[in-house]
């Protein structure tokens, strides 16, 4: 078992900040201390070689969980074991076998060519010469950035920089790699190549991969298993198809019409999510999409119609709501 998490909890203290002059003066002497529970007693287990996705809206606790698993944060309570180590003890041998990549934060030096930064990593991680050059050769070939090694980081495109970050994260052949929003800000082509690379790398090396993302596509393409977190608790843990089923039951139809249509007319087709004069968004059961669409085109002055997947945040929120129901 690569990663074991039991009842992991993290709470933050913060002070209530009020606006206004009177309150600012009051704040000098007395501040109300509040507690935010970012992660509330979560538990899960991950096998070696799995790719697991962490899904959830902003502030759900994904990044906090990742930070605890990498040893950056101490939990308020609970246990975790990564490759047999307790992460926040920060043992050197633990650090040498794990890697974390955080969205747009660079671990590579801005002013230097990537190969200098990578060499620095070689020394920090105490990698053997031969192993280092072998790994470097492999990774730069697969990611096709051999030429860019000698170019200064700031001269590379965002996509190329991300590839270098990945190489830096993998150069010491970690057994576990944590990725926090790895594709954020990347163009679609780069996103795709990052996903393909990670999938292939995992297949090849059996490295355990944990990634958080806002993008459904990241999870769909990479993760056989998804853990959905909301408000600090796990609301779903299982294969992707499970989520798809609960989300896929509904789809959204966006309509644009050439004359305003009032609510009653729209209500007969499905639940109204949005209605603004000549534009409307309806929520329709996926099974009846075909028949409802035909009806809408027949009975309403539609000039443009699009059928969309249910947005993930809403799906999760629905998921969460449904978990609360008896």
């Amino acid at each position: 078992m690569s990663i074991i998490v039991r009842q992991l909890t993290k709470s933050f203290d913060y002070y209530k900040k009020e606006v206004g002059l009177k309150q600012s003066i009051k704040n000098l002497f007395y501040r109300e201390k509040l507690v935010k529970e970012a992660v509330k007693g979560i538990s899960f287990e991950i096998e070696e070689g799995e790719i697991v996705g962490f899904l959830g809206p902003n502030g759900a606790g994904k990044t906090t969980t990742l930070k605890m698993l990498s040893g950056i944060l101490h939990p308020t309570s609970g246990e975790a074991s990564v490759m047999g180590y307790t992460p926040w003890e920060r043992k050197k041998s633990f650090k040498k076998n794990i890697s974390i990549v955080m969205g747009q934060k660079n671990q590579l030096w801005w002013d230097l060519p990537a190969n200098e930064s990578l060499y620095l990593n070689k020394c920090i991680y105490e990698i053997d010469d031969r192993l280092y050059y072998e790994t470097l050769e492999e990774l730069t070939s697969i990611l096709d950035v051999k030429e860019q090694l000698k170019v200064q980081l700031r001269r590379l495109s965002l996509g190329e920089r991300m590839k270098m970050e990945l190489i830096a994260a993998l150069i010491h052949r970690p057994k576990v790699i944590l990725l926090d929003e790895p594709t954020i800000g990347l163009d679609l082509v780069s996103q795709k190549s990052v996903r393909e690379f990670l999938a292939a790398y995992n297949k090849d090396t059996k490295t355990t991969i944990l990634l958080t993302s806002h993008y459904m596509k990241d999870i769909q393409d990479l993760c056989k298993r998804t853990i959905v977190i909301n408000h600090g608790t796990i609301v779903f843990d299982g294969p992707l198809s499970g989520i798809n089923d609960s989300l896929g039951r509904y789809k959204l139809i966006k309509l644009r019409m050439d004359e305003p249509v009032d609510q009653e007319r729209l209500l007969q087709f499905g639940r109204i999510k949005n209605h603004d004069g000549m534009e409307a968004t309806l929520e329709i059961e996926a099974d009846s999409i075909k028949s409802v669409t035909r009806q809408l085109l027949d009975h309403l002055p539609v000039i443009d119609i699009t059928i969309e997947e249910y947005p993930i945040e809403e799906g999760i929120a629905q998921l969460y709501r449904r978990m609360d129901e008896p």
Binding site: T64, S93, W109, L120, I124
Partner: protein, 273 residues
């Protein structure tokens, strides 16, 4: 490599990594030539400022507590050298601490299998600011010694290196101390201003100050030891008791700052979001 004990291996690793830090910083700095020369020029203007102090002492021709202006030049020279050390080796790192915390880069450093304190406080090195200060300061010391008919011997040079090393440790600890507040305070500007001004107290030899100020500056916050130790030694004004303190204080301060650092990081790891 495998023949060395693990402890020695660690030391070799840190020396090697630090060498890379320095090399990489110099390369990056040389990239922007205009910037580099500008930095050197600015430091030279500060050098002029320090020389004015010497100039004033010479012009008044006064002897202070038995120190002639030539002797005082040695004090100012040592201060110049140590200023160079501070702003080249340490300040570029200390001033980035608040940025690391704010941008989350600190988190990335924490996950590296190398001492966090080492990484954060020594990663950057500024070559351009070191040169004028070390050269200028050393020149002042040499000139002072020659004019006093005490041409420096090899032994003196060795002592100089030793005292610079000791003073460097004290500089590191004393100036890192207020910067630990970066973990708690967002706007370090005012604090940096105060530190900048406070550092100037070594522009003049400590004998100029009143007794209480001297004691505070030697034993409470040993800032005076940084620029006064070597001159006192080379001018033969240092007694053995004082020498003991000069050797002991860096060790004490290093231990203290290490403990304070670890406590700050522990708080960060518990409190940050």
């Amino acid at each position: 490599m495998s023949k060395l004990s693990p402890f020695l291996k660690e030391i070799v690793k840190y020396v090697k990594v630090y060498g890379l830090f320095v090399k990489n910083c110099i390369i990056a700095e040389m990239e922007f030539r205009t910037n580099f020369f500008m930095g050197v020029a600015v430091e030279c203007s500060w050098l002029v400022s320090k020389l004015i102090y010497a100039f004033v002492f010479y012009n008044t021709g006064a002897t202070v507590s038995g120190y002639s202006p030539d002797a005082i030049l040695i004090f100012i020279g040592m201060h110049t050298v140590m200023t160079g050390v501070l702003i080249s080796f340490f300040w570029p790192n200390f001033s980035r601490l608040t940025q690391y915390v704010r941008e989350g880069t600190l988190d990335l450093f924490i996950t590296k299998p190398i001492s966090l304190q080492f990484m954060v406080t020594l990663r950057y090195f500024n070559f351009g600011t070191l040169l004028p200060n070390v050269v200028g300061g050393a020149a002042m010391i040499a000139v002072g010694l020659y004019r006093l008919d005490m041409p420096p011997s090899l032994y003196d040079f060795g002592a100089f290196i030793l005292f610079v090393a000791l003073a460097t440790i004290v500089t590191y600890a004393l100036f890192l101390l207020p910067n630990l507040l970066s973990f708690k305070i967002v706007d370090m500007g005012p604090i940096n201003q105060i530190i900048g001004q406070a550092q100037e107290v070594n522009n003049v030899p400590m004998i100029v100050y009143s007794k209480w100020v001297q004691l505070a500056g030697l034993y409470l916050l040993p800032i005076f030891t940084i620029s006064n130790a070597f001159p006192l030694f080379i001018l033969g004004r240092m007694d053995s008791a004082f020498l003991v303190w000069i050797i002991a204080s860096p060790i004490i301060l290093l231990i203290l700052i290490r403990l304070l650092w670890r406590s700050s990081i522990a708080q960060y790891a518990s409190a940050s979001s």
